[in-house]
């Protein structure tokens, strides 16, 4: 069990929400299979992820999904955001939380989509991951605490 504290100031208009550093890669099983036939994979990339209770599933920016060469396992999943429905790809990835003791997820299904607020974060951590954690927010200290 690990505990992580994040800062989040909901009263700061420039604060996009509680964010955590993550490393997203292909699933270990996918990379082993790929390397056995000579495929190469990019180095793991650390990126910011928003904890998003409004997302039913974890979503990565399409740009980063392409960079990571995430193995695609489906096409055309419907994602509704602000009333508009988008058809998106699904990938088999892994997510870890460097510098914390939080348990990673491998493999995990990740949807890729075009992000509008890409300058703040590259991933939305959805309820498929959040359901494994206890999360609390202390409004006075502006601290979010995650325990897995």
């Amino acid at each position: 069990m690990a505990t992580v504290e994040l800062h989040w100031d909901p009263f700061d208009q420039d604060d996009p929400g509680p964010c955590i550093d993550v490393v997203v890669m292909n699933s270990r099983d996918v990379m082993e299979a790929g390397r056995s036939i000579g495929l190469d994979y990019p180095k793991p990339l650390r990126m910011r992820a928003l904890l998003d209770t409004g997302a039913s599933i974890t979503v990565i920016s399409k740009k980063f999904a392409n960079y990571c060469k995430l193995f695609q396992t489906n096409e055309g999943s419907e994602v509704t955001a602000i009333g508009a429905t988008h058809r998106c790809a699904e990938h088999a990835g892994s997510i870890s939380f460097p510098g914390t003791g939080l348990r990673g997820f491998d493999p995990i299904r990740i949807i890729s989509a075009v992000f509008v607020k890409e300058r703040y974060y590259a991933i939305l951590i959805g309820r498929d991951i959040l359901r494994n954690w206890v999360i609390s927010f202390d409004g006075r200290s502006r601290r979010v605490t995650i325990t897995d």
Binding site: V30, D52, N74, A113
Partner: protein, 76 residues
């Protein structure tokens, strides 16, 4: 030159069997490549691993949960 949409053969196969599979394997995950169905599994991870063993990564394979109606994911 005509281009083929990714997973078009697999999704067509899925649609052909959707009704039948919704009765027999509702909520399970199926792994398909072309017309080859590897099987039905209790989780995405199991279906992925079975697909990797059977098909490898040289060509994509579909991993899809069996539902009569497609789920819509919400992001707000």
């Amino acid at each position: 030159m005509a281009t083929t949409e990714p997973f078009s053969a697999e999704l067509e196969m899925f649609e052909q069997h959707r009704k039948e599979w919704s009765r027999s394997h509702s909520g399970k995950y199926v792994a398909i490549q072309g017309e080859v169905i590897e099987g039905f599994f209790g989780s995405y991870a199991e279906a992925l691993r079975a697909g990797l063993q059977k098909f490898g990564v040289g060509r994509q394979f579909l991993v899809k949960q069996v539902w009569m109606t497609e789920p819509v994911y919400f992001v707000s």
